[in-house]
Amino acid sequence: MKYQTQIDHKTYQIEIEDTGALSIDGQAIAADLLQVGPLGLYSLLMDNASVELVVEETQQGYRVTLGSRTFDVRVADERELRLSGGRAALAAPTGVMTIKAPIPGLVVRVLVRAGEEIVEKQPLVILEAMKMENELRAPRSGVITAVNIKPGESVEQGAALLVLE
């Protein structure tokens, strides 16, 4: 079985045979993966290198934490790749996206207007919570199509603040 995995903008081709033999971008490796403990903690031995990882399933795929870094990994298998004609299966999410409040708080500043074009990681809203100001940044580039809040408003956790298209 062939898989295509994508992390940020980098793609890896992984093949796993029925025997369990595994290769990445054509290079064979010995990989041994076991869950340890009741929850998403895994022990991986890859060519005898020992690594512990935390894996959580997300809507888009898998969130893998190892060392001090977290990676969001999307995986497509052969069938999904065929159906979508290659890379498209793993394209970045597009379409309408609602920016929600990750924490409850007071809107101190709104840094964008409806209709404004924005780029990934651009600051959008300043939210005060825990008596500290927190900056919300754009998860991806796009156009702001709606602004549902104004400064001075209190918002609950999960409240829809902006719409991004």
Binding site: Y3, L22, P38, T65, G67, F71, A129, M132
Partner: protein, 502 residues
């Protein structure tokens, strides 16, 4: 000695105090809000009482309820921990009026040191050096004039403040107006009082504080300094004892000044005098924290003194057990505050259930934790969920132990400050001890370890899990169910791995 102590707090510090009581044979009473029924402090105490809804103002800040519980449980003393009511003179007075011992200083001392202007007046009479500054309650126009006289850069501070809230540095006169407005807004939100004052900003300054212990019989000693310059928005993130910037002579000098400051308010119990230390070895009184400090463990490890137990003894009216000449500093300790915040996203507070937890152990490692596997971290309280403290013969050994322990730490389910701490321990400037309180401004994003190989591993693991799920369409086989090592991966990998060996 007290028979029963009520711990008027939650989280790691409540657990810390409960442990100290247990180690003295004193029974303990915990209190909890609706959010904390299963929290560790409730489970570790001998008794536990519900005090209200999650919001602190309806539970942990309700002094009346806490005193009612203490009466009902028959507690003869209350330890306030830090935060919440720890520096509330009214609460300390109410406890005293209820004929219950307050394990901390007198209401008068709390009040004197709690008001920064009064504090400055009192300590300056005792010969404690101050940063040049203004009185409070000045109007913005007067503050602007004073600022011009003191010279920029200048610091705007909340009169009622603490913990860096409502604090602002202004480098340019043009920014003073907006800086004052922002500081007043934050101060009002945090303390219900928008009064601010100014201080000359000390450049390249370190935040160094002195731990003191004082009994009610006139004895007061210090336990050396703590280095707390690693701060973000005036919030301490990492502390150590001793400080690379303090030698024995300076320690003696700062210690004597700290003792004088404490004696200026007839201080009793453990307390901390915070100083700014500039690059020339000049130091200036910042404020006194009239309570147990978050970072007290680093001092405990280096001096061997259990500060919480000493507080209990002092509140019981005993004389100090140790004299200044009995205090010997040995080794080096570093503390990392583990917070539920995302260091890769501007330290945004995080909430959620801790789905997996493994705390580091082993030589030289101390963990002070308020969490467990399954605990729900909410946004109701301070984001600090645990403290990791490493002790070593030398600073280098402590740093290396901290790195090792951070690498062992597993908290899954929400973002924490651990990646920040790992990057900091790898930072050469931190390792060399070359930093001041602005270190994180100039080094805001310490480079995270290059992770090319890690990214590849993450890709492989995701594909393997996807494969296993797809093939079997059942839950991933768990290594821990039944015999260790029941997985297709295991068998194939062992076959591969064994070939070279046998």
């Amino acid at each position: 000695m007290f028979k029963k102590v009520l711990v008027a707090n939650r989280g790691e510090i409540a657990v810390r105090i409960i442990r100290a009581c247990q180690e003295r044979g004193i029974r303990t009473v915990a209190v909890f809000s609706d959010a904390d029924r299963t929290a560790l402090h409730v489970r570790y105490a001998d008794e536990a009482y519900h005090i209200g809804p999650p919001a602190a103002r309806e539970s942990y800040l309700r002094g009346d309820k806490l005193i009612d519980v203490a009466r009902q449980a028959g507690a003869d003393a209350i330890h306030p921990g830090y935060g919440f009511l720890a520096e509330n003179a009214g609460f300390a007075a109410a406890v005293r009026d209820a004929d219950i011992a307050f394990i901390g200083p007198s209401p008068e001392a709390i009040e004197a040191m709690g008001d920064k202007i009064t504090a400055r007046e009192r300590v300056t009479q005792a010969g404690v050096p101050l940063v040049p500054g203004t009185p409070r309650h000045l109007r913005d126009a007067d503050l602007a004039a004073a600022a011009a006289q003191l010279g920029y850069p200048i610091l705007v501070k909340a009169s009622a403040g603490g913990g860096g809230k409502g604090m602002r540095t202004v480098a340019d006169p043009a920014d003073l107006e907006s800086g004052l407005a922002a500081a007043r807004r934050e101060a009002l939100a945090a303390f219900g009082d928008d009064s601010v004052y100014l201080e000359k900003a000390i450049e390249a300054a370190r935040h160094v504080e002195i731990q003191i212990l004082a009994d009610r019989h006139g004895h007061c000693i210090h336990l050396g300094e703590r280095e707390c310059s690693i701060q973000r928005r005036h919030q301490k993130l990492v502390e150590e004892c001793p400080s690379v910037a303090v030698d024995a002579a300076l320690r003696e000098q700062m210690g004597a000044v700290a003792v004088a400051a404490a004696q200026a308010v007839n201080y009793e119990s453990a307390g901390t005098i915070e100083f700014l230390l500039d690059k020339n070895g000049q130091f200036y009184f910042l404020e006194m924290n009239t309570r147990l400090q978050v970072e007290h463990p680093v001092t405990e490890l280096v001096t061997g003194v259990d500060i919480v137990k000493e507080m209990i003894r002092i509140a019981d009216g005993r004389q100090l057990r140790i004299r200044q000449e009995d205090v010997h500093m040995k080794g080096w300790a570093i503390e990392c505050r583990i917070t539920a915040e995302d260091p890769e996203n501007n330290f945004m507070p995080a909430s959620g259930k801790i789905v997996a937890l493994r705390e580091p152990t082993g030589p030289g490692i101390r963990v002070e934790s308020g969490i467990y596997e399954g605990f729900e971290v909410s946004l109701f309280y301070d984001p600090m969920i645990a403290k990791l403290i490493a002790y070593g013969e030398t600073r280098a050994e402590a740093i290396l132990r901290m790195r090792r322990a951070l690498k062992e730490y597993r908290i899954a389910g929400l973002k924490t400050s651990i990646p920040f701490h790992m990057a900091l321990m790898d930072s050469p400037r931190f390792q060399w001890g070359q930093f001041d309180t602005r270190f994180l401004e100039s080094h805001t994003a310490p480079p995270l370890a290059a992770a090319q190989e890690h990214e590849r591993l993450a890709a492989i693991v995701a594909a393997m899990l996807h494969h296993e799920r797809g093939l079997r369409n059942i839950a991933i086989s768990h290594g821990v169910e039944g015999e260790q090592g029941q997985s297709t991966w295991r068998r194939s990998a062992l076959l591969t791995g064994m070939r070279a060996l046998l």
